[in-house]
């Protein structure tokens, strides 16, 4: 009987330890990723009448950046850039998010694939 109790106690203790480590790691990870996430700067880009506003996006070098794109046209558009390796359809009257970088200093043109004549822009990394 005592043996069994000891065995159970041991198991419980072991379980507690087993749970503690992953939980604390998870907590650290959440906090850490929260900090990293909060650090990501966000820039806004609007699509109106098949034009990008602003047509020049300035972002800091060597840092991940979140571009929030608002498509104010009723028609879908596709954000595309060979230099940034990015491509994404944005349906009409909606918003979306694209992450880019960290990038080296330089200019990275992008365009709207559905209306490339007018929808042109550039990301300038400084």
């Amino acid at each position: 009987m005592r043996q069994i109790r000891e065995l159970v106690m041991f198991k419980v203790r072991k379980d507690k330890q087993g749970v503690l480590l992953p939980v604390s790691l998870l907590a650290i990870f959440c906090v850490a990723s929260g900090l990293v996430w909060a650090d990501t700067p966000e820039v806004e880009l609007r699509i109106r009448d098949h034009l990008f506003f602003p047509a020049t996006l300035e972002i800091p070098a060597n840092q991940k950046v979140k571009i929030r794109i608002y498509n104010e046209d009723p028609t879908p558009e596709e954000f595309e850039s060979f230099e940034l390796n990015r491509e994404k359809v944005i349906v009409g009257n909606s918003q979306t998010v694209i992450f880019i970088g960290p990038l080296k200093v330089g200019e990275y043109p992008f365009f709207g694939e559905f209306y490339p004549k007018t929808a042109q822009g550039v990301v300038v990394v400084k």
């Binding site: 990501t40 991940k64 028609t75 060979f82 390796n85 909606s94 559905f114 004549k117």
Partner: protein
């Protein structure tokens, strides 16, 4: 708008058409070598194309909701899943592909190969078709320039399908059957690598995977925006500036196909004298 419609529809049609041609080249290869003992079917093509188009329409109709999910990166997640599944099925196809009709479980293997082909084609049509529908729906919904866009799209689709047909005959006609199989296996491996690399890129774009530095820059050698660059992108997923993680994923996809028995068959030749005899007759 006319030229733009040609380009967009061409780009999207091309990828799906090339994929289908490659798979059909495998079908032809198997049926030729086994001369009708057990047949790899082809009747799934039309059904896959049609159901792919229906799925593409459903996907396109719900693109807004999909895009808004997962904190506005739902589209990347959905597309990355599509690419991953396609990659896995191409690898599975390579491993299931029977050496000859006398293989054990050959009927089950062929059923598996057919299943992989159907799903891969449906997913390709879904992926590319939904983009065409977005573009077409947007432009036509505006009520402007409907006809030029329609004709442009038709021409684009025509060129895309013709290129696919050209690839099919390039892979099957003129070459010895052994060489044809080598090209097919090589392309299959490159396609699987491409799918894996695209999935990584999309997860990167969604910030679900951490950044990895650019592996190399071959823009001076072959620009991604050029015609050949675009063709290479559609065929084997050429990118001028892939990230290290993409290169790694590409390699894994490539090797997973290349390590399969089918590439042993393509490069080391046939073990069974019966198959060799048939091949001798064909060549």
């Amino acid at each position: 708008m006319f030229l733009n419609a040609i380009l967009i529809v061409l780009q999207e049609t091309l990828e799906a058409a090339l994929m289908l041609s490659l798979l059909l080249a495998f079908v032809r290869y198997f049926n030729l070598v086994n001369s009708g003992n057990v047949v790899l079917r082809r009747n799934w093509v039309l059904i896959s194309l049609l159901s792919g188009a229906i799925f593409a329409w459903v996907y396109s109709e719900n693109l807004g909701e999909i895009s808004d999910s997962f904190d506005y990166v739902g589209l990347e997640i959905a597309n990355a899943s599509i690419h991953s599944v396609s990659c896995a099925l191409l690898i599975l196809l390579a491993w299931l592909f029977p050496e000859s009709s006398t293989d054990s479980y050959v009927k089950n293997r062929l059923r598996g190969v057919n299943f992989c082909m159907v799903i891969v084609v449906v997913l390709a049509i879904l992926r590319e078709g939904s983009e065409i529908m977005q573009f077409g729906g947007g432009v036509l919904g505006q009520g402007e320039a409907g006809l030029p866009v329609f004709y442009g799209g038709l021409i684009g689709a025509g060129i895309g399908v013709s290129t696919g047909v050209l690839l099919y005959y390039g892979l099957t006609g003129g070459l010895s059957i052994q060489r044809s199989l080598r090209f097919c296996v090589l392309l299959l491996a490159l396609t699987a690598g491409n799918m894996a690399s695209q999935a990584i890129l999309l997860l990167n774009q969604a910030d679900w995977l951490p950044f990895s530095p650019i592996a190399w820059d071959t823009n001076n050698l072959l620009s991604e925006a050029s015609v050949i660059g675009q063709l290479a992108y559609a065929l084997i997923g050429y990118e001028a500036t892939p990230s290290l993680m993409q290169v790694l994923a590409y390699s894994i996809g490539f090797i997973a196909v290349f390590a399969s028995p089918i590439s042993r068959l393509a490069w080391l030749g046939y073990q069974s004298p019966r198959v060799r005899r048939i091949l001798g007759a064909v060549e």
